[in-house]
Each structure stands twice: as structure tokens, then as C-alpha cells.
């Protein structure tokens, strides 16, 4: 029974570079910490000769254990047993461990490796999926929910991972799609491989369904373990504090950001020059790279980072980066993780495709998420903060608790070139030397408005600080926010522009 689908099926699984369900649980959890539930559960299907078939544990292993001492509930589908197909008892086991995780307020990890619904069990199988989706939704924001895709996860089954907080995928192993290549070929005549349609890379780079990409199962498990150290066990707690550590000297905050606002740099280096031990754990590294999100620690405490990335697409906000940031902000807010926002953006990405893709609706998510978040919100304006982008990136107006700006900050409606072209249009056009006049006017505008002091004079910026003072100011602000209390108007729930 402990061998699941038997030796032959296990050999097949290994040939695909996959571990068995039990091996996966053992590799992920602390040694000897796993307690299995419902090993002896059997299916009760009678149709289609199912009565004669014995499916060990009904193709899924459930139980609880620990990761670095943190309690976790876990289920792992066993592909070696009837292709990990989901029948009535299979789903009952999963919902049992989900109920347990919610009741005990501990994180839930689901390892998905299943061919899909067990057709022989008909609507009982569909009911099972529905029961899982319902629990995913009800548990959302209460306990952390992590999905690990280590095999196929197709059709309706994909909606369980989609409802969870973080989805982990592994190259060449994970496959997720609603309709597979065969159906697409028959119905639409389009030919595509499973990997190109819904492989790990596709979901990490294009769809944004996956949050962590790994090359092997081993690397994937290391990522999960690391994530567990950064997040609390439930929404009533804060993440466990670690021993504080100074950033590494090789990340010199004074030397990262060029003064010229049109030159690129890697904002992750700025984050590494601020966080404990320069240890920054990035989330969704491969998707919408123009914004960077992830976790780090400040004085031993988990902190969420949201930063524009000037190295990629000049750090603009667009449809995908707005979705990415908004969801992460809401995650941090749900789990009591303070948010530090690093601002350096020229505005929104112009284009017909962006407008038609709904950049209004998607962009609004960022405003909504920041406004609604009640965790401590700290903002550092590194360089440019223009127009709507300035407002969206955790500005004072959306109730940031602390807003700091470096002397290189430029807080304005738009960049000097664009602004001068509009304000001094007549003068430039009527001048004998339009180019010369334009350059002069751009310089004039730069001198007057491309600085943090106009905003600071209104109190929109609390302090103008030297880059080298950033960590000290942020640590001070986090300590000062320890007991932050905010009363929001009572409501059932808001209506974020989903």
C-alpha cells in the first residue's frame, strides 16, 4: 500500500524525472515530522467494473508535519495510482486536510500531479473539485495556501492552484491548461505542444499563473521552504522574527542609482543594499519584470518590497505589472507584512494594445490595493515619480505612513521634456531657434520642478534623505509603526476592479 501504484508505475514516474508522492512529502518536510492520515481509505465506486479495482489510498496522500518547525498540512496526489485521478474519496481526503489546516490555522501545501477527473465516478468527481475550490476561497487570506504543480494539472483542476496564494512550477514537469493541445487542434486547427501551451516557463513568463520557477523538484522544494520562513502561519500572527543582520558591503547604496533619470540600473541592488544580509527573496521573477516584488527582512522582521525596475521597460506601469503588484500588496496586507515601496517610474506604458487590454481597469488595482492596505506602508522615492504613476506608487495621498525622497527625486506631472513642450509650446514654436528655446525651457523646468522640494513643501514627502540614511529611516519607521491602528468603514467587502 505504501508503494501506491506499484513498482512498474513508480518506474514510469521516475523515467519522467518525477519523484513519487511520498518521496516528495519526505523531501519537503522536516525529517520524521510527517504523520499520515487516511492511508486506508478506499473508493466506493461500483460502475464500469470499478468494484474490482483497488486503488491504494485512492491516489492521494494527506497528513501534517513541519517545515523548519512551522506546522503545515499537506496533500500530494499520487500519479502512480490511476493517474492521480480525482474521485469522490480522493477529494474527500483533500477537503479533510484543508478543513484541518483552516481549523488549526496552519499553512496548507498541495502537490498537484493528476490526470484530472476520474471519469468512472462521474458527477461525484466534479462535486469533489467544487468542494476543494470552495475551501480554497474560504481559507484565502486566513491561512497561507501553496500549490506545487509537479505533473499535469488540467481542466477544472487548475482552479484550485489559481485560487491559492503561491504557485510553484518545475521546468518540463508542470503542465497546466484548461483545454489541452488535442482539443485545441480538433476545434481550432491550431497545433501546439503541452510544454508550449502550459509548461512551467509559459506560466512563469507569460500568463503570470505561477510565482516560482525551478529547474528541478529539489530546487522547487528549497524555494517552498524558504518562502515558509518569510510568512506567518496564519492571518492572526506576524511572521517569525529572525536574527537581524546588516546588508553586505558590496551593495553600496550610494553608487547604484545614476542621477540622469533616463539611465537604467537594477533596483534589486537597491533592495539588497537595504535588507538584512542583502537577502532578497523575489516573487514572480520572470513575469512583468518592470516591477519587482518579494520579501526581505528589516531588523529580523519580514517586509514586502514593491519596486519599479528601471532596467526593464524603464520601470513603467502596465497591465501585467499592475496585476502583479496589486496582488502582492493584498497578500502582504492579509498576512500582516509591512510594505516598503521604492519609486522610480516615468508613468504608464502608452499604446493601443495597453489601452485595449484594459490598462485603466488593471492599473486601478494598484491604487485600490495600496489604499485598502492597513499594514505599515513606507515609501522611498529614489528618482523620478511622474504623473499618475507617482500617485499609484504608495503616495501620501493613498495613506502611506512614511514617504521619504532622495535628493535625486523628481516629483512632477511628467518628465521635463514633455512638460516643457506643453507649457512653453507657443514660445518654442514662435521662437527663431525652436530647438534652442526648447532646450532652455526644459532646463528651466528641470531646475524648478525636477526635485523633491516642491512636494516636500506641501508635506507630501516627510523627509528628504541621503541614500545612505535609507535603512536607518526605514527601520525607525517600521518600529514606529509597530502598533499602527486604522479604523476602516464597516462593509461586507469592497469592489476591487478585478
Amino acid at each position: 500500500m505504501l508503494l501506491g501504484g506499484g513498482e512498474q508505475a513508480i518506474e514510469k514516474q521516475k523515467a519522467l524525472g518525477k519523484r513519487t508522492a511520498r518521496e516528495r512529502i519526505m523531501a519537503l518536510l522536516d525529517t520524521d515530522s510527517f504523520i499520515e492520515y487516511d492511508l486506508f481509505v478506499e473508493h466506493e465506486a461500483r460502475d464500469f467494473d470499478m468494484a474490482k479495482k483497488s486503488l491504494p489510498s485512492d491516489g492521494v496522500i494527506i497528513g501534517s508535519g513541519t517545515i523548519y518547525g512551522a506546522p503545515v498540512a499537506i496533500f500530494a496526489q499520487d500519479f502512480t495510482v490511476a493517474g492521480g485521478s480525482l474521485g469522490r474519496m480522493h477529494s474527500r481526503k483533500i477537503t479533510k486536510i484543508m478543513d484541518h489546516a483552516l481549523k488549526m490555522r496552519m499553512p496548507l501545501i498541495g502537490i498537484n500531479d493528476s490526470g484530472g477527473a476520474r471519469i468512472q465516478e462521474g458527477v461525484n468527481s466534479l462535486a469533489g473539485y467544487g468542494e476543494i475550490f470552495f475551501r480554497n476561497t474560504i481559507s484565502s487570506g486566513v491561512i497561507p495556501q501553496i500549490s506545487v504543480i509537479l505533473g499535469p494539472c488540467a481542466g477544472g483542476a487548475v482552479y484550485s492552484p489559481a485560487l491559492t496564494d503561491f504557485v510553484f512550477v518545475v521546468d518540463n514537469i508542470s503542465k497546466m491548461f484548461i483545454t489541452g493541445p488535442e482539443v485545441i487542434k480538433t476545434v481550432l486547427g491550431e497545433e501546439i505542444s503541452m510544454e508550449e501551451l502550459g509548461g512551467a516557463r509559459v506560466h512563469s513568463e507569460i500568463t503570470g499563473n505561477a510565482h516560482f520557477f525551478a529547474s528541478t523538484e529539489e530546487e522547487c522544494f528549497d524555494q517552498i521552504k524558504k518562502l515558509i520562513t518569510f510568512i506567518p502561519w496564519n492571518n492572526g500572527q506576524k511572521a517569525k522574527a529572525f536574527e537581524p543582520g546588516e546588508p553586505k558591503r558590496e551593495y553600496n547604496i550610494e553608487k547604484i542609482v545614476p542621477n540622469d533619470p533616463t539611465l537604467p540600473y537594477d533596483v534589486k541592488d537597491v533592495i539588497r543594499s537595504i535588507v538584512d544580509n542583502s537577502d532578497f527573496f523575489e516573487v514572480m521573477e520572470l513575469y512583468a519584470k518592470n516591477i519587482v516584488i518579494g520579501f526581505g527582512r528589516m531588523g529580523g522582521r519580514t517586509t514586502g518590497f514593491v519596486a519599479n525596475q528601471p532596467l526593464e521597460m524603464a520601470g513603467v506601469l502596465d497591465v501585467d505589472s499592475s496585476d502583479k503588484a496589486a496582488r502582492f500588496i493584498r497578500y502582504c496586507d492579509a498576512f500582516n507584512i509591512p510594505i516598503i515601496t521604492l519609486v522610480d517610474l516615468p508613468g504608464y506604458l502608452p499604446g493601443v494594445d495597453q489601452e485595449h487590454a484594459g490598462v485603466i481597469r488593471h492599473g486601478a488595482k494598484v491604487l485600490y490595493a495600496y489604499s485598502e492596505a492597513t499594514v505599515p506602508k513606507l515609501t522611498v522615492i529614489l528618482r523620478k515619480a511622474y504623473g499618475g504613476g507617482y500617485i499609484a506608487m504608495s503616495s501620501r495621498h493613498l495613506r502611506a505612513d512614511f514617504v521619504f525622497a532622495w535628493p535625486s527625486a523628481e516629483i512632477a506631472v511628467m518628465g521635463p521634456e514633455g512638460a516643457a513642450n506643453i507649457i512653453f509650446r507657443k514660445e518654442i514654436l514662435s521662437s527663431e531657434d525652436p530647438d534652442g528655446t526648447r532646450r532652455k525651457k526644459v532646463a528651466e523646468y528641470k531646475e524648478k520642478f525636477a526635485n523633491p522640494y516642491v512636494a516636500a513643501a506641501r508635506g507630501f514627502v516627510d523627509a528628504v534623505i541621503e541614500p545612505s540614511e535609507t535603512r536607518r529611516f526605514l527601520m525607525h519607521s517600521l518600529n514606529a509603526s509597530e502598533n499602527k491602528t486604522i479604523q476602516m468603514p464597516e462593509k461586507k467587502h469592497g469592489l476591487p476592479p478585478l
Binding site: V187, K255, P258, N259, T262, P264, K289, M313
Partner: protein, 117 residues
């Protein structure tokens, strides 16, 4: 203004040949351009002379001949797609100039199938 061009920026820019320029509000930013942005299909206003396939599928039947007069809304072609027959209609009054596909051809979405003049 002093440009503090740092070692790091120079390193990033040298290492990466893909550094391009993005124009936002007349400012030119040196940055990596995503392949998605670089490969985006530039918007073109729809041309009523070009009858496009609105769905991928197979040409089941062609209902008109070159030179034939058609009115806006007239059926031009039947496409077999999504397990259904879909009628492709003329977007203007005119004369069929050319038919670019034949019965049995597989067509993708957005392909020009018929030109009307």
C-alpha cells in the same frame, strides 16, 4: 547636472546588448525592451475592403465568384470552426476582387480571405 554614471550601470549596459530606448512623454529612457513589447502587432485601422477570417478554421464553401457584385452583409464564405458553420459576411457594398483561399484550406484568425473593391 552631474551624471553619476556608476560602475554598476556601465556593467549592466555592457553585459546586455539588448538595451534599447523607450520614449515616454518625449523623454528617452535607456532600458531593456521586453520581447512582448518589441513583438506587439502595431494597430491598423480596419479596412472594409479586406475580408478577414474572424475565427480559425477550415474553408467549407465559397459562396461568391470574382467579379460578383455584393452588398454589405451578404454571405461570402462558410468556415468550419468550433464544430459549427460560420458565415463570413461582406463588410461593404462592392465587387469581389480576389478570393485568396480555396475550399478545404485551413485558415488562421485575422487572415485576409477575400478582397472587395
Amino acid at each position: 547636472m552631474i551624471i553619476r554614471k556608476t560602475e554598476l550601470t556601465e556593467l549592466t549596459m555592457k553585459k546586455n546588448e539588448k538595451i534599447g530606448v523607450l520614449n515616454i512623454d518625449s523623454s528617452l529612457y535607456k532600458t531593456r525592451i521586453s520581447s512582448r513589447f518589441a513583438n506587439r502587432i502595431p494597430y491598423k485601422p480596419t479596412d472594409p475592403h479586406m475580408i478577414l477570417s474572424f475565427i480559425p478554421g477550415t474553408v467549407l464553401d465559397i459562396l461568391v465568384k470574382p467579379g460578383q457584385r455584393v452588398r454589405k452583409g451578404d454571405g461570402l464564405m462558410l468556415l468550419d470552426s468550433m464544430k459549427m458553420q460560420n458565415q463570413l459576411k461582406s463588410t461593404m457594398d462592392g465587387k469581389v476582387k480576389t478570393i485568396l483561399v480555396k475550399k478545404g484550406d485551413r485558415v488562421s484568425k485575422g487572415m485576409v480571405l477575400i478582397e472587395v473593391e
